[in-house]
Amino acid sequence: MENSEKTISQTIERIHKSEYGQILASLVNTFGDWDLAEEALQESFLAAVQQWEQQGVPKRPGAWLLVVARRKALDRIRKNKPVTVDPGNLENRSFSSEREIQYEEEEIADERLKLIFTCCHPALPMEHRIALTLRALGGLTTQEIASAFLVPVPTLAQRLVRAKKKIKESGIPFYIPPIHLLPERIESVLAVIYLIFTEGYASTSGDVLIRKELCDEAIRLCRMLEILIRKNLLSPDIPDEELSEVWGLLSLMLLNHSRRNSRIDSSGRIVLLDEQDRTLWNREEIQEGLALLQKALSLGSVGPYLVQAAIGAEHAISSHSSRTDWKKIAEWYELLLKMEDTPVIRLNHAVAVSIAEGPERGLLLLSALGKDLSSYAPYYLAVADVQKRLGSSESAKESYAQALAFTNNEVEKEFIRSKFDETR
């Protein structure tokens, strides 16, 4: 059945990755106790290692794991007091029949959506939301998440413990939120997904620029959210703006991710957008991103993710940076500024304007940002670029030196040094 995989443990590893979140969601829903659910699921995986070796992998491994985990959880409830769930109700259900397994599978999708909303509840600190989402829905191990976010394993483990404690103590519900809460909640889920993506896309420290797995994971989560929302929330119930932003974010991530193979050259150096080999861009992802963008725009409402996707699309459809419609990009940024006025968006707007309308106008906009972005490396890079175009290489060199002082990423440092050296 699993011929391509050499060992049972490889099979189990793959199943762990793909099914962990769904099974956990189902268990949390049944027992209302996160720790119990996790412990039971661990035991269930251990049982799988032993039994599948002898009896082979079952037809529906996810359902098998769920059924066994449920039994393990019940065992624990019977052994331990106080009892938080009345086992009487559960005992009447037969867990092992084929019909039961099939029924469970249909139920699972719904429960995963509940789990997303619980993990991304705005009452949880953002870093807890991220850790919990990756652990519960991504099926990433604590170790994997810790190394992706460059925090010590005990710190990450502590975050997970605190988050689960808060869910229990403060009564964060495990459900699909009522309609009046959906806009706020979907926004929170999207923010978590996008932060996971950006952490993978341009990590702020360490020596690997793109942690591809995090980007893949964020895209996978967003796809899942999109499918689950369409399946579980009937369209009249869900405001168009929300679905539009889900599509917008998915489009934005796909369009950015499509450039991953051209952003770093063979010696590990950063390649800027206008120097990238566009034949390396992933056409399939671009097509999908553009299609999603069109679909979202047709809904008529435009949110911040959608606007950023539109900007990404302008790059994606352009055969060369000199043919890119920078005027249009500057306009999109203006629209974005009306939604979210932040110094970083102002910076991007200024860069677009400096290309569309000339470096003088760009420098004017950039100067106004100096106070807000005085310790932000990309700001100094943008300033240096404009100064170079204006012919003042000494000022540009100074700006590069400042950029260098404010970056921790080795790949970026290398890039800035080379820019400094080539400025005469």
Binding site: A123, S170, G171, I172, P173, P178, L181
Partner: protein, 120 residues
Amino acid sequence: MKYQLLIYIDEKLEASRSKQELEQRSEDYTTYTQELLKSGKMVGGDRLHPTSSAATVKLREGKRITTHGPFAETKEQLGGYYLVDCSNLDEALDWAAKCPGAKHGTMEVRPVYDLGPKPN
């Protein structure tokens, strides 16, 4: 689950409100309290006198120290609270958002320990 809906207000700002504003406020609170009572979720609630009426006391090494004023100097002060019994945090947050305090101050929602049945 029981939750405290704590109403934090800027007392200085409140002191500067017009009589008309305060009357409207008072009406809003009455309406809200009635709605909460009708829902059966309300366990209790009180409006507090301003912190200028407060006294603080603590025991240090057996010695009693009493001072005037509130414990902490913050921008916003506790002005009152409701105690509600809700099925989860979202429901409590909904009631907090409906409270007039959400408009003129900030609502903090805190779950209350369940220490079992009270003696009585």
